[in-house]
Amino acid sequence: MTERRPLLLRPAAPALLVVALAIALVVPRTDALRLGAADAVPVERWNAALDALPAEATVLVAHDPDLGTYAEIRPTVRIALADLMARDARLAFVSLTPEGRALLVAELARLERGVVNPARMLDLGFVPGAEAALVSLASGPKVPAGAEGLIARNLATQGTGAIDALLVVGGNDLGPRSWIEQFTPRVGDLPVLAITPTVLLPEIQPYLDSGQLDAALTTPRDGAAYREAVTLGSLERLREPVEPSALGVLVGLLVAIVVLGQGWGARVLTPLGGASREHEHT
């Protein structure tokens, strides 16, 4: 009787995957594998929505991404914030989830280090209560005690009337859908933009089609196309120095397909092998 030894490949496979991805990251990039070569429509729609904003618009940034998917949208979020600032927009940040708040604190620290004009930013902090918090925000965001500047004054006096657009950075439970369901019906006609990971695309698409969502960047390719197209002037320093690697994504997806295919293949081949052995015995 022979025992099947576990293949060395099995425990080593994850290490090989990491090494393969590391090699893919350092290999020189080519235009043949360029993430930014995507459908231009989402980016055109995004830019059209930004172009339609009034001068020195106040944008409420709802920052509630998820730790597990933030890496996918982080470069796009950073460029979008820099783009809004390059367009002289004023940004008021709010988070409704602790996870979003933690990531927002890191982003605000980064903007601060990037020497962004602090008068153009206001941190509204963490608002607890999930859907109830959205309803309370619709009746006017609560400006933190001691907050100064034009954004704080406008929000304190005009409430949501001071907001010209809403940018939702999604990924967590309280994403664009929640804002569209709870916030926008209560504040009237307000342009809504969203940046979400691909996993939320099926949830976002109906709102884009119905016009409830003005524009969204929901895939790595949309994000890369937007990042390629945008010019930030003096805020170019806020751009991440290295773009995500399309080759790395391709290698990873191929490995995933092979692993999934291995399961299917084994299921198909096992009965065939058994049948062949039975045939030999007889």
């Binding site: 597990g68 890496a71 019906p185 691909t198 109906p206 991440e240």
Partner: protein
Amino acid sequence: MNGLFGAETVDLVATWVAALVTIVVLGGLLGERRLFGWSQHLLAGLATGFLALIAVTEVIVPRLVAPIADGGADRLELWLGLALVGATAGAPWLPRIVSAVPISLVIGSLAAFALGGAVIGTVLPQLVAATSVDGGDTASLATGAVAAGITGLVLVGFLHGVPRGRVLTAASSAGRWLLVAGIGGWLGYLLLSRLVLLLDRIGFLLGDWLGVGR
């Protein structure tokens, strides 16, 4: 690039800590479970600590304690809020009828807001958008019909304990397969997100920590 610009000592320490923890987590892929388990405990502890911190510093103190201290002692809703916080914190030692009040309020309000918002913000506008035939072409009508058909089949797939004929059984089976296909598609999207996260971490180790390609 993870946002740590500078070359100050604190940045250096943060990068090294992040790199070591990343290596520990990646070590879990190779079977190193003990350190990986510790890193999971570390994450859970940090998350709990952060949650408690923002609950105290951004909610309880500025929204309850400070207003009461600043002359709002006659505001009944603040005292009520404080009592609910106390009931939540003391739940293990309080009678169930008392400790259940804040949780019931949370669940009830969440369900009410979510349901109301779903009807006003999603169901009605989406119905209007889907049934609007002005300017709608044949393709969009066909898409709507297919979507309605798939929705119907998936809903039939949830029928349990109902006497079924051959047609209903086939429709139910098709609905379940469509549901499985939908979940498969969603997992595919999730795989992409996780893959990008893995690449990001490897890129962090190579670029920010080891300085390769910088």
